[in-house]
């Protein structure tokens, strides 16, 4: 009888753990298909891809730890060979190559976004601030690895790996704000 009781108590403690794991997996999968959803924009020649959108959304919706974990899962999906990195590339080589810093930045950005957003009150300005901080983290990692591995100066790396994407990122922040508001009622996690 006692034995059965302890098992029951034990599984009750573990019960809470499965759902967050699966939500992290879901956001990893969403980020992966984000590389394939292309939205043509009337104002910019480069179509918007959505990885960064889901990175920021994961940070806002899942919080720091879980959001960061979901991005780790996304990077692992790419490493084990699913074509989920931008343009359909994959593998350890991408992570170690010139553009790998952005992928590491995704993990850090989801974490930072969740961290800043949770601490402040749930208001629009704090969400915008958190996402801008997240974007800054993505470019910090991305540009540093680019300049280090591709042997460029920091100015060159910023010109190649940051400036062309800034307009798209501003639009993505607005999109995250709209979408996060509308999906919050559906979310039953935690």
């Amino acid at each position: 009888m006692t034995c059965r009781l302890t098992i029951f108590v034990d599984t009750m403690n573990e019960y809470t753990k499965v759902k967050p794991l699966i939500y992290a997996a879901l956001f990893a999968a969403l980020t992966a298909i984000g590389a394939f959803i292309k939205i043509p924009l009337p104002i910019s020649p480069v179509p918007l891809t959505l990885q960064v959108f889901f990175v920021l959304l994961a940070g806002l919706v899942l919080g720091a730890r879980l959001g960061g974990t979901s991005m780790v899962v996304y990077v692992v999906l790419g490493i084990i060979g699913l074509p989920v990195f931008s343009g359909g590339s994959s593998g350890l080589g991408v992570l170690l190559g010139p553009t790998g810093g952005y992928l590491i930045g995704f993990v850090a950005a989801a974490f930072v976004t969740g961290l800043i957003y949770n601490k402040a009150a749930n208001s629009k300005p704090s969400a915008i601030g958190a996402m801008i901080a997240g974007l800054f983290v993505i470019y910090l990692f991305g540009v540093v690895q680019l300049s280090f591995i591709a042997n460029m100066s920091i100015q060159q790396a910023v010109a190649v790996g940051m400036v062309p994407f800034l307009i798209g990122d501003a639009i993505k922040i607005i999109a995250v704000l709209i979408v996060a508001d509308r999906i919050r009622p559906f979310l039953t996690i935690s």
Binding site: V18, A29, L50, G91, T99, V160
Partner: protein, 246 residues
């Protein structure tokens, strides 16, 4: 979504995923630290290994194509901004030094992608997932949790793709154009809604079957075979030759 993995029974296919992961990490060290003449050896080796594991040239090119534009930009930056002797006498910018540094760098990046695509071609995603979980074992339950999440994400992906196509068509039938912010929210909000429902069902199903995260997810074991040690040995010889004699 087309995976890159191709089934086969070549030497590379039969190697343990863990060995291949370690070899890949080792090769990337070599690729970054090798002097330019040694890169020719690495390039020759990649062609031989891909040939013997049954990869066509098409497959190799497929792996490189997505990153080609960015590599081109890196090459151009070096070509145009490296000081030195000009390539053409009447123009100051494309310099010989820039051409060489840019070319060598892009060759290194290409090699990295080529070796990666051999690894991915010869190893199933679940095999690599298992190998990664093995290496993360020192981090406690995080390794098995990560393997579980990766496996779950892999099973969710095809359904999400189908869902995305269905919603795109449904919204187009309602007159939404897939352009701009409005078209975007019309696609993403239903996609998220549906996927949350699906994921809630999945986690309820798992929880009601007493699934919990401290359980072992992998009930099979693989042990290293002779060919794994041979492959690591060959790599070590190659590394010594490239690092000290070239």
């Amino acid at each position: 979504m087309i995976g890159i993995y191709g089934h086969g029974r070549s030497y590379m296919h039969l190697l343990d995923p863990r060995t291949k992961l370690v070899l890949m990490a080792g090769m990337s060290l070599l690729i970054y630290s090798a002097r330019p003449p040694a890169l020719a050896i690495l390039l020759g080796l990649v062609l031989i290994v891909s040939r013997t594991s049954g990869m066509t040239v098409n497959r190799l090119v497929q792996g490189v194509r997505p990153v080609l534009i960015f590599f081109g930009v890196i090459f151009l930056t070096h070509l145009l901004f490296t000081p030195g002797d000009p390539l053409f006498v009447w123009l100051p910018v494309p310099t010989l030094a820039g051409f060489v540094t840019g070319g060598v760098l892009v060759l290194r990046f290409m090699l990295l992608i080529l070796y990666t695509s051999i690894m991915i071609y010869t190893t199933s995603p679940s095999g690599l997932n298992y190998a990664l979980a093995c290496f993360l074992r020192p981090f406690g339950s995080f390794g098995s949790d990560l393997a579980f999440m990766t496996g779950t994400a892999m099973t969710l992906l095809p359904g999400l793709f189908r869902e995305k196509d269905t919603i795109t068509k449904a919204q187009a039938a309602r007159g939404y154009k897939p352009r701009g912010l409005k078209g975007f929210t019309a696609l993403v909000v239903p996609l998220l809604h549906r996927s949350f429902q699906r994921v809630d069902e999945l986690s309820d199903a798992l929880e009601s079957r007493c699934f919990h995260s401290k359980r072992r997810y992998y009930y099979y074991r693989r042990s290293l075979a002779m060919r794994d040690y041979v492959a690591v040995g060959v790599y070590l010889v190659l590394a010594v030759v490239i690092l000290f004699f070239l």
